[in-house]
Symmetry: C2
């Protein structure tokens, strides 16, 4: 099956017009019974065929002994029978011309090796016969589309409809989420519990939703990623069209172990996961709650043109708290213009200050509230409005939401988010008056501000992200020759001189250097590049130069050079390393400014990651290092350079000149190009890159490891 055919088949499942439930049951509390009940209760507009040899009728619907007995066309078979008979049942489906399967049953890969073998047999059969299967070990699927209302999962609660596609790798969690979502008024469009992903996997689903206009945002709970490279590509593409919000668990060491024992799948290296997700601009949340807050805001808010936040409140304290919270997330508060202030003064009582946060005070009437909201929304300096309402004496919570809904229509470009601390019956009362509320309403300031932050992040990503990977002129042949040479010599770590040559070939800025074989040569080089100089050995047989005294720094004149040259060669003789000694490199000593950086390429699983951060002694200790997937886009190179505290260190520290950010980005892009050109390179360390007081930067050492 090609991709288009797969997507079409998945569509037939998710929009099935007729469903056979195999293993349907009349016994309350069983999955087979719940599945039928849910289909009925949620008002499925298609045809339901319960299948169970034991019953004539289930929940009032005629039952069939086998799918082969159903004479009409069946789009989808939902199977909930013991694992041992699943394959036979699927074979029957095939005979009955049913190609779409949702396999609820568990007892496969997640249980033991026998289960794994059964799962393999099933997926082989599915592939061979051009069928498609979701599961096994899953909760089922959901599609709230009003003319379909397909609820083929056994979560006990019916969802409310929205525009979200939710896919989860934990079926039970899907159930918990479906229980919770109506309580926080978050609507789903589709839910797919992917289970063990024997056939359909998370990648299929993202691509399916990419092409389904009913889905406006994609929420994923995943524990493992089936194909890193493909996952990254798909996320990069789809996330530009509709936001993807991900929880990828197994972030911590104990969490990784827990995930492995849960699904039997390896959680994967979180550094790689993080690099892929952030590189694709995907929003990664740590906690379920955070994911839903973000989804709530994304469900109802446009991306603002201007990001400046105005806070309207009838209580000072929460206004201050929300302002603090905005500060935590680096969200800028709008500076109200004199014009705006004078308009506000006209509609507000004199006790209300006209600042931002705008405190209309506890006695504010509905009119004052709404007038103030409109003035703020109308102001050019305001891009986003956060409305805080506390029920204090007069309860007009519902009315204020009504007014905000109207204002939203009038000012469609400006997101409105709200925090309401009112009575418990507010949602009920609101529902009676505002049927489809489109203002996100939270209980606490942090929820609203966190969601808003993610909205602004997405705006930045979409407007700023240059996802192109620039190409630089480099001397590829030179590198090819060196690498061929290494292959012949079976070298794993390239020695210093050829490493430096490779850097030169790819335009990595290096301190001046040249190789010497005799003192006389060394002296000439030192004279040419200028003292002080450094001596460092280049040898195939020595991995750690410094450990054997193979590096001598701060040589001030010819006399010192002579002494150190002789001493160095003597040390090499003593440890019998003269043989392997290629040459001694004479390098210009860089007088640094204490500002040292590290750039490089790391390797995780099947992927190259570009790396940047604080170098030198601080590398291991401070771990101010970030990673991004290769090939690196211009946007991600920029992000990498500006993400850590290294950014501040590149600035004007102690009066030293700033280091060029774009030059540093270029180093990273050039390294990324190198590993794109030469897959056999596993890791590169450019550590340290020293910045001088003048803001110039020079790599002074190179480490290149081959696969």
């Amino acid at each position: 099956m090609n991709k288009a055919e797969r997507l079409e088949k998945l569509k037939n499942i998710m929009y099935a017009k007729s469903i056979a439930v195999i293993g349907a049951s009349i016994k309350k509390g069983t999955v087979g019974n719940e599945l039928i009940k849910r289909l009925i209760e949620f008002g499925y507009k298609g045809k339901i065929y319960p299948v169970n040899i034991k019953y004539d009728e289930i929940e009032g619907i005629p039952a069939y002994a086998s799918v082969l007995d159903i004479k009409q066309n069946v789009d989808l078979a939902v199977i909930a029978v013991p694992s041992k008979v699943v394959l036979d049942v699927i074979k029957e489906c095939h005979s009955a011309n049913i190609s779409g399967i949702v396999l609820i049953s568990s007892g496969f890969k997640e249980l033991n090796s026998e289960g794994l073998a059964m799962e393999k047999e099933i997926s082989d059969f599915i592939k061979k016969n051009n069928m498609m299967l979701i599961g096994p070990n899953c909760l089922g699927i959901l599609n709230t589309c009003p003319n379909l209302r397909l609820n083929a999962c056994f979560a006990p609660v019916n969802p409310i409809a929205g525009k979200i596609g939710l896919a989860t790798q934990s079926g039970a969690l899907a159930s918990g989420i479906i229980n919770i979502l109506p309580q926080i008024k978050l609507g789903l469009r589709q839910m797919i519990s992917i289970g063990n992903q024997a056939d359909v996997n998370i990648l299929d689903i993202i691509e399916f939703w990419e092409n389904d206009d009913n889905i406006e945002q994609i929420l994923l709970y995943i524990e493992s990623i089936p194909d890193n490279q493909k996952f990254r590509e798909i996320c990069e593409r789809v996330n530009r069209i509709k936001p993807i919000i991900v929880i990828k668990s197994g972030r911590t060491e104990t969490g990784t172990r827990a995930a492995a024992s849960h699904t039997g799948a390896l959680a994967g290296d979180d550094v790689l996961v993080e690099a892929m997700l952030s590189g694709a601009g995907v929003i990664r949340e740590k906690y379920l709650r955070d994911m839903f807050e973000t989804a709530q805001v994304f469900s109802h808010c446009v991306l603002p043109k201007n990001e400046n936040l105005a806070i309207l409140t009838n209580a000072g304290g929460p206004g201050v708290l929300a302002t603090d919270t905005a500060g935590d997330f680096n969200i800028k508060m709008a500076e109200l213009s004199e014009g705006t202030k004078s308009k506000l003064r006209k509609v507000l009582p004199p006790q209300a200050g006209v600042n931002n946060p705008l405190d209309v005070i506890a006695s504010a009437t509905r009119e004052q509230y709404t007038n103030a909201a409109e003035i703020l929304l109308d102001a050019d300096e305001v891009g986003v409005l956060l409305v805080i309402y506390l029920y204090i004496t007069t309860q007009n919570d519902v009315e204020i939401i009504q007014d905000l809904e109207n204002l939203k229509k009038k000012y469609p470009d400006k997101p409105i988010i709200s925090v309401f601390m009112t009575t418990a019956d507010f949602p009920e009362r609101l529902k009676k008056v505002v049927k489809d509320c489109t203002i996100p309403i939270f209980n606490f300031e942090i929820e609203a501000v966190h969601g808003l932050k993610k909205l602004l992040d997405r705006k930045h990503f979409l407007t700023e992200a240059n996802m192109e990977t620039p190409k630089f002129e480099v001397d590829k042949n030179l590198v090819k020759n060196i690498l061929n040479d290494c292959k012949e010599k079976k070298v794993k770590q390239i020695s210093t001189l050829p490493s430096l040559k490779i850097f030169d070939a790819y335009g990595i800025p290096l301190a001046k250097y040249a190789p010497a074989n005799t003192f006389e040569e060394a002296s000439k080089i030192a004279e040419k590049i200028g003292y002080p100089v450094v001596l460092k050995i280049s040898s195939d047989t020595i991995t750690h130069k410094t450990d054997v005294g193979g590096v001598v720094t701060n040589i001030k004149d010819e006399k010192e050079l002579k002494t150190e040259w002789d001493a160095l060669l003597n040390r090499m003789k003593e440890i019998n390393q003269i043989e392997g000694l290629e040459c001694v490199i004479v390098m210009k000593q860089i007088i640094g400014s204490g500002r040292e950086f590290v750039a490089g390429i790391a390797s995780r699983e099947d992927s190259h990651l570009a790396m940047f951060g604080l170098g030198g002694v601080f590398l291991e200790v401070l771990k101010e290092v970030e990673f991004s997937s290769c090939p690196l886009s211009a946007y991600n190179a920029k992000k990498l350079v500006t993400q850590t505290k290294a950014l501040k260190m590149m600035g004007n520290v102690r009066g030293y000149k700033s280091v060029s950010l774009s030059k540093m980005q270029e180093v990273l892009l050039r390294l990324s190009q190198m590993v794109s050109d030469f897959e056999e390179i596993k890791e590169i360390d450019v550590n340290p890159i020293m910045a001088t007081k003048d803001g110039e930067m020079f790599a002074v050492d190179a480490r290149i490891i081959l696969k």
Copy 2:
């Protein structure tokens, strides 16, 4: 009034047996009406006297024209009349022998200077006449004590009873909180809206609750602190007896400005606030929601003896998520023993793995759940139990809580916390079966784990905190003489030599040094302490030595010393600084390991703060520096040294030897002792403290600023 009298008077207000509401009204929606209604609705057990000249009866209770007409004893007058007549009303109260006042009215300090003047007059009158006043500009007070049921605030919702004392500086926020708390099942014992704190302030309230056994934890929302020193002392003392959880807003720059415009009070320097709170072990939360999560856990959980967490779940995904979350907070997962595992195997189906998180899988019965919970609680290796329940097919959420309540009685030393993702009607159903639920129930893993983290933090604080301030033998007289000398000379920044002498006198480890006046002296010193050496000037007239070339490092031999000595003196001559030159210090050049630290004393408002972190070039950029209030306790010195990434830098970096943590703590304690002994010292910088490869540490420069 002394403290005991004040506390007694506050008690008379908070436990008032008779209340006059002055400004009571029959008009719905007015504060004067709400106050009466709330008192009645909440079932106040005392006597209510509405006072308003206009009415004979308010809400069915006979009204009085003036408090003077009330013949019975009145403990408390709650006043809600226009600000202009407040003073007269208070005078009447005084005549009527009512000494306790809760002043609801606003229009005072928070409004304008006229209001401020009125407030001043009122507080003067109160003080002069031995009265006590809460407010003005406040919501009122609450005491849910079952034989009192005093609700003298105008929040629209009645609270549920608990053991929490809540004080807030924002009256409107108090109302919002009271609306919300019943929805999250958090009970209050008392609430005091402190308003403008014209008389009773936050310090009185903390001390009052310190002595009220009905209060088990104290929640504060504050925007300003009336007396830093006293606040710190009280927090240190009271927090050891009952937990104090604080939101202090104005954390960020914009938040500080917002707070100032809200209450008219300065938010204060957040560095100082943070140092005071963390030094006292007070739990500071950033967000309201977090505060309530913590309060929820503290309301129902003992401090565990053993901190290892076991997670019991019927769904794999949430188990993994909770494990990740525990990892985020450095909470250790219990390693289940073989004994525990075999017990679990006996009660669980074979599909359930017996790991931690323990996934009893979706089909788990109530019995399996409860048996597993008991086995975990019974295991020595488990100290805390987190129970996650998702309603999947069989709904036994209420029953499981019932069982957990019983297990809690059986294992009273082990906290049980829970996450239930079930149907919206769960709280209603639960209430019918479990009247007073004592298991904290959250919707999301992060809420439970965050609350648990704070419980563990408190346990650490109470068990580890040595709040004593050790005393070291020092040469106080020497310092006294130097400071007297400086006073005479009117010096603000002590020059280098006397600064180094002060360090010596207080036992701060310094690189070897001695002062020289001639080259010959310098040469002798250098010979004695050994090359390489550093030269640095000591001068009263030069503040920044390095800026004028007053420091020369890395002098390797006598020849270099001569050259540099002459050059240094020439430079001083050129800028006419020979006159002010006290001497030139010859100091041993410390060959560092790149590990540089800063220790010192900073000064904020009226307080000294000890400071520690990464020094050198990284100080400004990385801001890995923390602060703690002086006088520093042994506990806080330890915390200071271990709080930042400087801790890792003190460890075995690049094979260099570790730096002694206790010696570093001693440096901080000695500095703290110095500013206790000499109040006139404003700031001290010991920057950098250099650590050698051998793990020894030496201060190489000193900066002492006087007030």
